[in-house]
């Protein structure tokens, strides 16, 4: 029990510190103890954050949401289709295909970023939304999960009767299977959402235009400037808090999906 408390403090302390720091005026960061509140100025700090450089932070937050929601949405759909086909259809090369996709799980995504940059610059895609969006939709792990979930959640009998009724495979998928797979699709979506939300290396390589940055890259840039512009420090802290808290809340609310996904990914 005592150990668990120590560990809980370890996990929560930085977030608590972040919250306390986000409520302080810049000057108090250095002059007051970091874990105790001083002048409560959270709302002014938020105002400064959102107002800085013509509201660029809002743009970054929006970009992160666009990359993550759209990327994970499209990614989940295509992973589900592919994983479902791998689970439910028999065709030549199926196992080979699956092995190649699984091999993709082992490829370090950062190793892909540099060659992708060169390819995308040849295609004129660098410095666009697509440069970050397109690679983000591919999640081999998502296919792997979808295959496991599909074979577990969609009984073959239902597919058989749908086929007897003369329904096409795609129609069956969208009208019957998707509904059965919904909880697992949420799981896949969440995994991919977090992966894209946290992604940093790819956007850093691909983007130079600040207006396209996701929150991670934007705060990284700001953090690099705090050495010279002390005022930015408070905005980096407040920005970090703003970018972390909503995700944590969503996260905690959706915990059961994680557990089912993690269980499926590891045990089966």
């Amino acid at each position: 029990m005592a150990i668990m408390f120590v560990l809980a403090i370890y996990f929560l302390l930085p977030i608590y510190f972040l919250f306390v720091a986000a409520t302080k005026p810049q000057g108090d960061l250095v002059s007051t103890f970091g874990l105790a509140f001083s002048h409560f100025r959270l709302f002014e700090n938020l105002g400064d954050l959102f107002g800085r450089s013509n509201g660029i932070f809002v743009q970054w937050a929006l970009n992160s949401v666009i990359y993550a929601v759209l990327g994970a949405g499209v990614g989940t759909l295509i992973s589900a289709l592919c994983g479902y086909a791998l689970a439910k259809f028999r065709f030549r090369g199926r196992e080979f295909l699956f092995s190649v996709i699984l091999g993709g799980v082992l490829v370090p995504t950062t190793a892909l970023a540099l060659p992708l940059f060169l390819l995308f610059s040849a295609a004129g895609l660098v410095n666009t939304y697509l440069a970050v969006f397109l690679p983000s939709i591919v999640s081999p792990f998502g296919v792997y999960l979808a295959r496991i979930f599909a074979s577990a959640a969609v009984p073959d009998e239902i597919l058989e009767s749908a086929r007897l009724d003369g329904a096409g495979e795609l129609r069956t998928f969208f009208s019957v299977s998707v509904r059965l797979m919904t909880p697992s699709l949420v799981t896949i979506f969440l995994f991919q959402f977090v992966a894209i939300w946290n992604n940093f290396f790819l956007p850093m390589v691909m983007l130079q235009k600040e207006s396209l940055f996701p929150i991670t890259l934007g705060l990284y840039e700001w953090n690099g400037q705090t050495v010279h512009i002390p005022d930015l420090q408070e905005s980096v802290i407040t920005g970090a808090l703003v970018s972390v808290v909503p995700v944590i809340i969503v996260f905690v609310l959706l915990q059961r999906f994680w557990r089912s996904g993690l269980a499926a990914g590891s045990v089966k």
């Binding site: 029990m1 560990l7 809980a8 370890y10 996990f11 930085p14 977030i15 510190f17 972040l18 103890f33 970091g34 289709l81 086909a85 259809f89 028999r90 065709f91 699984l102 082992l106 490829v107 995504t109 950062t110 190793a111 892909l112 540099l114 060659p115 992708l116 060169l118 397109l134 939709i137 591919v138 296919v143 792997y144 496991i148 599909a150 073959d156 597919l159 058989e160 086929r163 096409g168 495979e169 795609l170 940093f200 290396f201 390589v205 929150i215 991670t216 890259l217 705060l219 990284y220 953090n223 050495v227 970018s243 995700v247 969503v250 996260f251 915990q255 269980a263 990914g265 590891s266 045990v267």
Partner: protein
């Protein structure tokens, strides 16, 4: 992982598994396969191809650049580069210490959470899992504040007991980065193991308990072996993650001159690419991917015999 998956979904040939027309199958798999090929396989192939090229130049000082086949030149150069080995050595040291520490913590927590007597379970579970919601860059920024000599309450607390820790000093900074990774990923790994533990039918323990086995004995003799596949999986993911390390040291580099531009293999590759030497960067990336692959597959093979994966 391949083995693992085949037993999961393949193998069985059930009656309801259809054999639709090729067009239908393509309609299902192509939406994924196409981008997978374009944004996974093609870049890999491109990187491999690039890594076999060398730059040539026509017309002296500022002549026109072109590339030509150079065999293993780039690989030879990478392997002779002391910065490359330095970064590999650093990451190896990092991984050998950080991965076991993190996984041990995760396992211990998972077992404690699975034990009947612990209270406040969901609080602990959520507390540990929370950091997973924090992007690596932001986690590093947060910890950077906790490390910084001017701002950190932790440094201040240490000063209170007469210590003067320098988290960003030449000897410490690697472990400061390791701490960020541990903080980020322990909860995630814990949850994987915990989910596996929850899937064990309780009656398995009954017999042992009747034989008078203690909770510890049950944990180590029964639970741990059963969830071994999860532990293997988390280890593999941790190996992959460690070899890719970039964001956390890059953030700490912003406040510490003790992290060089070539601190990790990935930072080296990026620095080399920034110097316009894309072919060399490609070779480093390929080497890194090969090392990742060999280590993770090797680890799985090694353990699969033992744990019967």
């Amino acid at each position: 992982m391949t083995d693992l998956a085949v037993t999961a979904a393949g193998g069985r040939r059930r009656r309801g598994v259809g054999r639709p027309r090729a067009v239908t199958i393509l309609a299902f798999v192509l939406p994924f396969i196409l981008p997978f090929v374009l944004f996974y396989l093609v870049p890999v192939a491109y990187a491999v191809w690039q890594s076999f090229l060398v730059v040539r130049r026509t017309g002296g000082e500022y002549g026109t650049l072109y590339t030509t086949f150079g065999g293993f030149t780039q690989y030879a150069q990478a392997l002779q580069n002391s910065e490359f080995w330095g970064s590999i050595g650093r990451i190896a040291l990092f991984g050998i210490v950080q991965v076991p520490v993190m996984l041990f913590l995760a396992l211990a927590m998972a077992l404690l959470l699975d034990a009947p007597m612990l209270k406040l379970k969901s609080f602990f579970r959520i507390a540990a899992f929370m950091p997973y919601a924090v992007p690596g860059v932001i986690a590093a920024i947060m910890w950077a504040f906790l490390y910084s000599p001017q701002l950190s309450p932790v440094v201040e607390l240490f000063k209170g007991i007469g210590l003067q820790p320098d988290f960003l000093g030449p000897g410490a900074v690697l472990w400061s980065a390791a701490n960020v990774s541990t903080w980020l990923w322990t909860g995630y790994n814990m949850l994987i193991m915990f989910s596996a533990l929850q899937a064990i039918p309780p009656d398995l323990y009954e017999a042992a308990r009747l034989d008078g086995a203690s909770d510890w004995a049950i944990a180590w003799r029964i639970k741990v072996p059963i969830i071994a596949p999860s532990i293997v999986l988390t280890t593999v993911f941790s190996i992959i993650g460690t070899l890719q390390l970039y964001a956390e040291p890059a953030v700490l580099r912003q406040i510490s001159s003790n992290i060089s531009s070539t601190f990790t293999p990935n930072m080296l590759a990026y620095a080399v690419a920034s110097g316009n030497n894309y072919q060399q960067a490609a070779a480093i990336s390929v080497l890194l991917a090969v090392i990742t692959f060999v280590l993770s597959v090797g680890f799985m093979r090694l353990t699969s015999r033992r744990v019967g994966l």
